[in-house]
């Protein structure tokens, strides 16, 4: 895959380098330790008994035979873990093991631990659960029409879990005055994360303290939630996160296997390990919400005067991050385009399926798909090239969106120009032979959520940098390395500040007993927040050492140059070594440890719901995809992808490219083949890697990546996110290309071969939903369009 260097590496020694990540050898050599690699003396093996019905009351659970099986050490049910929890404070609707009622097929109802995995498995077979089935609700339409209620305590009717209604300016009035309006409906299928490593936990309760060694993206939240659920003091819980084999949002909630491991270890006084099978990961899920959407836009002189957006999210059985997903559905339309007025009405329903939650892009790929496909059709009807219409409506850098979000740097215009030029979009669009086509779309994502899940004013990331008299520099951080390269970001930033090599930075990570807090690897926040905290801490150490060197060299502090373990005076001849500088400073001040912190402070609105969407900075992407459609089979083959990403400033070039390519892969999977499909009884049809289709290496096209670097004032060295944003333009660019190839508008994904061939055989012009739900949205919260919304204060 080819890569285009954006700019020379202006003055940095490490930042922006093309070099291997810090843990590359460890991982490639198979030496990295993951949770399932951990074996402790006397360890027991846990297993979960899961519900075989999608919705029902639990009449009885008979565990007597299981308990009697030799080698079984403990059996627990919902009665043993009655405390409700949920990742969001507003929705504490889960228990680790079902209490009285099951709400999805695969929901855990009991847990066992035993001397061996085989005994634990046999014990499950001896647990007898009887259910009284309830009506099974599997879609938003079912949920709205059903008589049964999944959660009787909910305040909304029709199994609605969360309703959002926001209006910025007068949308109806503006629409009435528009020269051109258009409405469309879209459906975005639910998909799952598919991390290579399945969920795993080793719990070890000893001397009154519980240690959890867990594959997780946000141990901070486990630290916060589990003491309550397990009935232990917070200070008695230690969370260790080893290397994590992928997360993508699927390891952010507290999961039943982790909680049961903790409980069973407390009961037995022995270490307990749970490692889920691939099938069980599909039941843990928390992935992409299936979303039914409707959009109407009004245009004046080619400008987007009004957008009215509705979405109906299929949330699965529990709240999880669903409230955030619902708000995110409406939050980021305005960060790409200058909307005159804007109204968002969104409802998330409970259904009898594994709960949905955050997956790469968290609640924004679905509305992005709708908006970008909609704009493609508007451009066609207005007779304007799709890139020109977008560029005419782009949000200006350093401006405020219609929904009161503060945008800083924005390289979207350059991103569009790069992919349009490189792909030959104008020469190809409408001119390729039947069966071949090209499509374009853009996207935008947050570089970290500005607000924490649990409201407080404390820093989101803290890093400690310590200098040791041996000359060793150590960085302490609580972030998690889920494969995205966070360890590399930490080492490279500290190395850059101190003028040393990244492999000279010792990383102390992953153990809550020894590292400062970091909220976790989610919302694309790590480079922005941990990176800023690391820079802050390293700069403080640098200042201290510069003073030490200045004194030794009779130089000014400001003139000291850090380069390769030497601290030079301005003449570049006189120097002291790093070790010498550290020893002198330690003699003068005692132990040298410095802490850095980062707390985002962006500006945003003061209406209810304004807290979802604000970010220190936004990343931007544009993507062009060329496809070839096999008219014999209906299979769509992406031929080439051109993608430009506004990264602000690249810290680790190979990591950034890897994240872009990973986003393209995941976006293509969602666009072409991935979908969680259920039987009428609520059984997930494709709970395995052979049937849950995700692209293989052979299905991936060539990707040409362009990095647009315009350093953002908020980011460390100007860096913005790359973990999630590049996925967003991929699905709409793909279907826009399919339209160019065969003249069929796919207003739903995935675009599977059977749908394509049927559309060709029937000469359909469109494939997609034909109606949405007549949901009685409440009167929206009415918010003024910010006075500076149209400013182009570049």
């Amino acid at each position: 895959m080819r890569m285009n260097e954006a700019r020379p590496n202006n003055g940095y020694k490490t930042i922006g380098r093309r070099a291997a990540r810090v843990e590359a050898f460890t991982k490639v050599a198979g030496r990295a330790v993951y949770a399932d690699d951990v074996h402790l003396p006397g360890m027991l093996y846990g297993r979960l008994k899961r519900s075989t019905v999608a919705h029902g009351r639990i009449l009885s659970i008979d565990t007597e035979h299981a308990r009697a099986l030799p080698g079984v050490r403990a059996v627990i049910t919902g009665a043993d873990l009655p405390v409700r929890y949920g990742i969001l404070p507003v929705h504490q609707d889960e228990t680790a093991l079902a209490v009285d009622r099951v709400r999805y097929l695969g929901e855990p109802v009991a847990a066992v631990c035993a001397d061996t995995e085989d005994i634990a498995q046999r014990a499950l077979d001896l647990i007898d659960v009887s259910y009284s089935p309830l009506e099974c609700v599997l879609s938003v339409e079912d949920a709205f029409a059903a008589r049964v209620r999944l959660h009787e305590s909910e305040k909304f009717s029709g199994n609605a879990h969360r309703v959002v209604a926001l209006e910025f300016g007068d949308v109806a009035g503006t629409l009435a005055g528009c020269e051109y309006t258009r409405e469309d409906m879209f459906y975005y299928a639910g998909s799952t994360h598919l991390p290579m490593e399945t969920h795993a936990t080793v719990a070890d309760f000893t001397d009154g303290r519980l240690t959890l060694i867990v594959s997780h993206q946000a141990p901070y939240y486990l630290q916060r939630i589990l003491p309550k659920v397990l009935g232990i003091p917070a200070h008695a819980l230690r969370v260790v996160v080893p290397y994590v084999g992928g997360g993508f949002g699927g390891k952010l909630d507290p999961f039943p296997d982790t909680i049961c491991a903790g409980k069973l270890s407390i009961i037995t006084g022995r270490p307990v390990k749970f490692t889920l099978s691939r099938e069980e990961v599909f039941y843990n899920h928390r992935g992409r919400h299936p979303s039914l959407m409707w959009i109407r836009s009004g245009w004046k002189q080619g400008e987007m005067a009004a957008v009215h957006f509705r979405a109906f999210l299929d949330g699965g059985a529990y709240g999880s991050f669903g409230t955030a997903a619902a708000y995110y559905h409406g939050a980021l339309q305005g960060t790409t385009y200058r909307l005159g007025t804007y109204k968002a009405e969104i409802v998330r329903f409970y259904t009898n399926k594994p709960p949905c939650g955050p997956k790469r892009g968290h609640g924004t790929p679905q509305p992005r798909f709708a908006l970008e496909c909609h704009i493609d059709r508007v451009a066609e009807e207005l007779g304007v090239p799709a890139d020109e219409l977008r560029r005419k409506n782009l949000i200006a850098p350093y401006s405020t969106t219609v929904n009161h979000l503060r945008v800083t740097s924005c390289g979207l215009d350059e991103c569009i120009r790069r992919v349009v030029d490189a792909s030959g979009y104008h020469d190809k669009r409408g001119h390729l032979p039947f069966g071949e086509g090209i499509g374009l779309a853009v996207g935008c994502y947050i570089s970290g959520a500005a607000l924490p899940i649990y409201w407080n004013e404390m820093p989101h990331s803290e890093v400690m940098v310590k200098a040791d008299r041996s000359g060793k520099i150590s960085a302490y951080s609580g972030h998690t390395e889920i494969g995205q390269g966070a360890d590399t970001v930490l080492a490279w930033i500290v190395a850059e500040v101190l003028g040393i090599e990244p492999d000279e930075v010792t990383l102390v990570l992953r153990d809550s007993d020894s590292v400062p807090p970091d909220l976790g690897s989610y919302s694309s926040r790590v480079t922005m927040m941990m990176g800023n905290a690391a820079r802050d801490a390293a700069e403080k150490l640098k200042q201290c050492l510069a003073e030490s060197a200045a004194s030794a060299l009779s130089a000014d502090v400001g003139e000291i140059i850090f380069d390769g373990r030497k601290l030079y005076a301005a003449d570049r001849e006189r120097f002291i070594t790093l070790e010498d500088a550290i020893q002198r400073a330690e003699a003068a001040h005692g132990m040298l440890s410095f802490t850095g912190s980062y707390t985002p402070r962006p500006k945003y609105g003061d209406f209810k719901g304004a807290g979802v969407g604000p970010s220190p900075a936004y990343s931007y992407s544009a993507c062009a995809i060329q496809v070839s459609v096999d008219t014999d089979t209906g299979r769509v083959q992406p031929v080439k992808v051109w993608i430009a990403h506004d990264i602000g400033k690249c810290i680790s070039r190979i990591n950034v490219e890897g994240q872009v390519e990973g986003g393209v892969y995941m976006g293509l999977g969602e666009a072409l083949m991935e979908e969680m499909a259920f039987t009428p009884a609520g059984l997930l049809r494709n709970a395995g890697l052979l049937d849950y289709k995700s692209p293989t290496a052979l299905d991936m096209p060539e990707i040409e990546t362009f990095l647009v670097e315009d350093p953002d004032p908020e980011g460390p060295f100007g860096a913005k996110e790359v973990g999630q944003g590049p996925l967003l333009p991929v699905p709409p660019a793909l279907v826009n290309a399919v339209y160019d190839a065969i003249g069929v508008r796919f207003d739903e994904i995935p675009v599977t071969p059977d749908k394509v061939l049927r559309a060709l055989e029937r000469r359909s012009e469109r494939v997609g939903p034909r109606r949405v739900i007549e949901f009685p949205f409440p009167e929206p919260v009415k918010v003024e369009v910010p006075a500076d919304a149209a400013d182009r204060d570049v």
């Binding site: 019905v53 099978s277 009884a681």
Partner: protein
Amino acid sequence: MLRIGTFEVLRPRSLDEALAMRSEYTRALWIAGGSDLVPKLKRAQFAPDAVISLAEIDGLEGVSRRDDTVRIGALTRLSALERAPEIAALTVLREATGVIATPIIRSMGTVGGNLLQDTRCRYYDRGSFWRESLGSCLKIDAEVCRVATGGNRCFATLCSDLAPALAVLDATATVVGEKGARTVRVEELYSNDGAAPFTLDGDVLMHVDVLAHERFSRYRKFRIRDSFDFPEVGVAVAIEEHKAQLRVSVAVTAVAPSIPVFRENVSRDGLSQVEDTVYAAIKPMDTLFLPPAHRKSVARNMLRRIFDEFRATG
């Protein structure tokens, strides 16, 4: 992790020893490369009392040519077959071998294992928790079929890529059992009953013989992804031309518990009639990933495309 059940593992050194061992157990299974069987054992689709490995029996592995006949040992690895010069001219066989599963599985899986792989169904190839939630299926222990809920016939589908390729080459299979050896056409290995798909009754497949002469032949496999996936449908064609007359052989995989084979003598103009005949005759069921009507359409389109290629060869 999925755990495998408990059973005896036996490693006979000769066919006689193997057959004798088998008679001592009631639920013994043969194992060659294991790439089909082992995942199924992990999902508890079989509960054998013994698994008998064929790996140490001499004479079952390798590709050789004598006169006009290429002999392919049942234990030949798929990766070895793919590279064997003896089949270089047998395009359909080379193409079919090269698209089976993944390179890693082809290094482990064998010719015999591919031909005698278990039939597949979306309601059957599942873990035990899943099947318990479903209420099981006809192929294992339930009274009803989940695909055709009214019937008592199992439609689990044969998804071998090699079987149709060998069938259109008129290949024969030699099997040996307690009553001695016998030779049948490759397609006669299959009973067309998804629940008990083979006609072997415990016999061991020794080798497959195929005539080496060059002829037009093609295999087209349709699947969602270019690796891993079993065929959603696969079409094999061989055409031999004698003066103005064509002898056309077509075999289709992944549409039934067996391999439907069509052998027609037609003129060049009659090729489209063959398309119609095949299209009318195949009746895929809802056993795989994509819907039957789509797979049927794709079979016809792929067949037409192969015939177009043949016409283009002059």
